[in-house]
């Protein structure tokens, strides 16, 4: 970050975020202390397996958590404390300053309104413009996401579009009010290979052109390599490793990141026995007192099971939360 923008608050600032779901006697600790800042123009990819808390963390930024969730820590979007907003102000921010795209565009759209009506509604909801101006914006948005014959497509219902086109339309809807922060929850997972790469390149281009902060959640290392400036690896509700895309994907340091990369099938691995991670992901209702990865970690020692490992700075951009790395660095 250079000096001219450093006085501007970061687009996203998350501090010690915790999210737990309490029901009856059990308490599920989904997010257990996550902190990061993200500036406009940056892409942060959060990589994690199912149950790592990555989607819950993302939804918390928009206030999309059920009533029985217990939140801790703080979330600031463009300097505004999201936890202190009344519902009306929160709802005015959603879609205007911060927007989200989902894995399944078919469930994110309302099936009984056309694509055009849904984009126009969003624009009118947030901006003081005429219906004609909103309609013109809707057409511009479809052009922006490269949907051919935009004028005609505005009159389509969601089911009349193919999967890739529906995903483009959802991006158009999310960006209609030019938000500064875009959240993306596995938006290419349900798409075909030839369409996935198109959508990734489109998101990358729009993020640059519109100078947005993009938080992209995925379980796919290849997708992360294509889109990220920065990468965070999430395990049991914590960031276990963070850094630039090259730091994390090419110089992985945390044992979990390394194990996950080793167990991913890459090109040219025919005939090899695949590395696996022993054991299973931890039970979020009963997390171990120490490092959550210790029970599965090939390098774990006694100390790993007693206390939370500190985040160790491996370079100016690269950190990992591992006791072994802390010992090596000391």
């Amino acid at each position: 970050m250079n000096d001219t923008v450093s006085h501007r608050p970061p687009a996203v600032s998350v501090k010690d975020l915790t999210v737990a779901f309490e029901r009856d006697e059990s308490r599920v600790s989904a997010v257990n202390g996550v902190s990061y800042d993200l500036a406009r123009g940056e892409v942060l990819t959060v990589i994690g397996e199912s149950g790592s808390g990555k989607s819950v963390m993302l939804r918390t930024l928009l206030g999309l958590v059920p009533g029985h969730a217990r939140l801790g820590g703080s979330v600031h979007i463009n300097g505004v404390d999201m936890n202190r907003l009344d519902p009306a102000t929160l709802s005015a921010m959603r879609g205007r300053e911060i927007s989200m795209i989902f894995q399944e565009p078919s469930t994110a759209f309302d099936p009984v309104y056309t694509i055009g009506e849904q984009i126009i509604e969003t624009v009118l909801r947030h901006e003081d413009v005429s219906h004609a101006e909103a309609a013109a914006r809707a057409k511009d948005m479809l052009d922006l996401v490269a949907i051919p014959s935009a004028e005609r497509r505005l009159r389509n219902f969601p089911h009349e579009m193919s999967g890739g086109m529906r995903q483009r339309a959802m991006i158009a809807l999310a960006l209609a009010c030019r938000p500064s922060v875009l959240l993306a929850d596995e938006p290419t997972t349900a798409l075909d290979a030839t369409v996935q790469i198109q959508i990734l390149l489109l998101l990358r281009k729009l993020q640059r052109e519109l100078d947005m902060a993009l938080i992209f959640v995925t379980h796919d290392m290849g997708v992360a390599a294509e889109i990220s400036d920065r990468v965070a690896v999430m395990y049991a509700g914590r960031f276990v490793e963070t850094g630039s895309a090259e730091d994390v994907l090419l110089n992985a340091s945390h044992p979990y990141t390394r194990s996950m990369l080793d167990s991913t099938v890459h090109a040219g691995m025919r005939g090899q026995v695949l590395q696996t991670i022993r054991g299973a992901p931890p039970d979020l209702r009963a997390l171990p007192p120490g490092c959550a990865f210790a029970p599965r970690c090939p390098a774990a020692v006694g100390g790993c099971r007693s206390g939370q490992p500190p985040a160790v700075g491996l370079s100016r951009t690269h950190t990992a939360a591992c006791l072994q790395l802390a010992a090596a660095a000391a």
């Binding site: 030839t194 390599a225 090259e246």
Partner: protein, 351 residues
């Protein structure tokens, strides 16, 4: 692996009738069209050409990978092979026996050929214990209860689940990876020779996917199995397959040994598909999409090559000639593209 009640692969499998040279499965002219009806009278307004004249062979002991995008007919093809769906036209020959009154029956074909599905939860009966579920098919075939129980225990051990711990649990008590192990055990309960795996690892996390792929590889070696492995994950298919079949809109566009197809893909669609794989290296990102647009709708496809609307090499001849598979190298690598076929009229065709 513990010694179980399952047959171990002897040098000569007594079930092997045709010998090693006889393909385990020959599929000729497999075709399935679904009518689309609309209006109050249910008039036929269109036809989905889900699988449109597919022919291939599965060799004994190989893994045949099947790739293609959604709607290309991969899963319909798997269901047609299993006779879950009734084909419009088909000729199936299992180890030399044609399917039909003069050869192998559907019941016997299904005993020899089993399937594992993508959704590990939906494909298990929630009201049956794991043991009942795995033992269901053998019991329906009249095998004695005690023999079935021993078989179930041995299968559970083979797929890496301790019988004492898991046999009496219900599917909802298991993780996705464990449930997929159970689906594999159930598919093996009748000692099939061919297992069709339809996106069997696609819903799993990467670390679990690696465990299941290792398991599939060791089971194949131990039990002399042959797999048809359907997946949209190009790296996984490359990893596990010996040969690969590429489908596009209900047709086979390319087939061949996996090294050949991956190193020198012949059909423009295969090239685009392989080039669409994410790079895994942030220093070497994809800069431009290999092809634009979505796979088209399989309803009423236009005449000629199915890929021509997205193909940068399409010429007038591609609009009226439907290319058939033709050998590329004389060594089992074939593609259905007019550019590969001399005298086809395409300007890039060899003279």
């Amino acid at each position: 692996m513990a010694d179980g009640a399952l047959a171990s692969p002897a040098a000569a499998d007594p079930r092997d009738r045709g010998g090693p040279q006889q393909p385990l499965l020959i599929v000729n002219g497999l075709k399935k069209h679904f009518p689309i009806r609309s209006g109050v009278m249910g008039q036929r307004t269109g036809t989905v050409h889900a699988v449109d004249g597919v022919s291939f062979q599965v060799r004994k002991g190989e893994v045949l990978g099947v790739v293609g995008e959604s709607g290309c007919g991969k899963s319909t093809m798997a269901r047609l092979l299993m006779q879950i769906l009734k084909a419009d036209e088909q000729e199936l020959i299992f180890d030399g026996d044609p399917l039909g009154p003069r050869g192998i029956s559907v019941a016997e074909l299904r005993r020899q050929m089993q399937m594992v599905f993508q959704d590990s939860h939906a494909s298990l009966n929630p009201r049956m214990t794991i043991a009942d579920c795995i033992g269901f098919a053998p019991r329906m075939r009249g095998e004695p209860r005690r023999k079935v129980a021993a078989r179930v225990d041995s299968l559970l051990e083979r797929v890496g689940l301790a019988p004492a711990q898991y046999a009496h649990r219900y599917p909802h008590e298991m993780s996705g990876g464990q449930r997929q192990r159970i689906n594999i055990a159930r598919a093996l309960a009748l000692e099939p020779r061919l297992v069709i795996l339809d996106e069997a690892v696609s819903a799993l996390d990467k670390s679990v996917e690696a465990q299941i792929l290792n398991l599939l590889n060791s089971l194949k070696a131990e039990l002399n199995l042959t797999y048809v492995f359907i997946s949209h994950d190009l790296n996984v298919v490359e990893y596990i397959s010996d040969r690969i079949l590429v489908m596009y809109l209900g047709r086979v566009v390319e087939i061949g040994p996996v090294e050949r197809v991956y190193s020198s893909p012949s059909h423009p669609y295969t090239r685009a598909l392989l080039a669409s794989k994410p790079s895994h290296d942030p220093r070497r990102r994809t800069l431009a999409p290999p092809i634009t647009g979505d796979p088209p709708n399989p309803i009423n496809p236009p005449p000629g090559c199915r890929f021509r609307a997205r193909c940068q090499f399409a010429e007038a001849v591609c609009e009226h000639v439907l290319p058939e598979l033709a050998s590329v190298d004389g060594a089992g690598h074939a593609a259905a593209c007019l550019m590969q076929q001399s005298g086809s009229g395409h300007s890039k065709a060899p003279a």
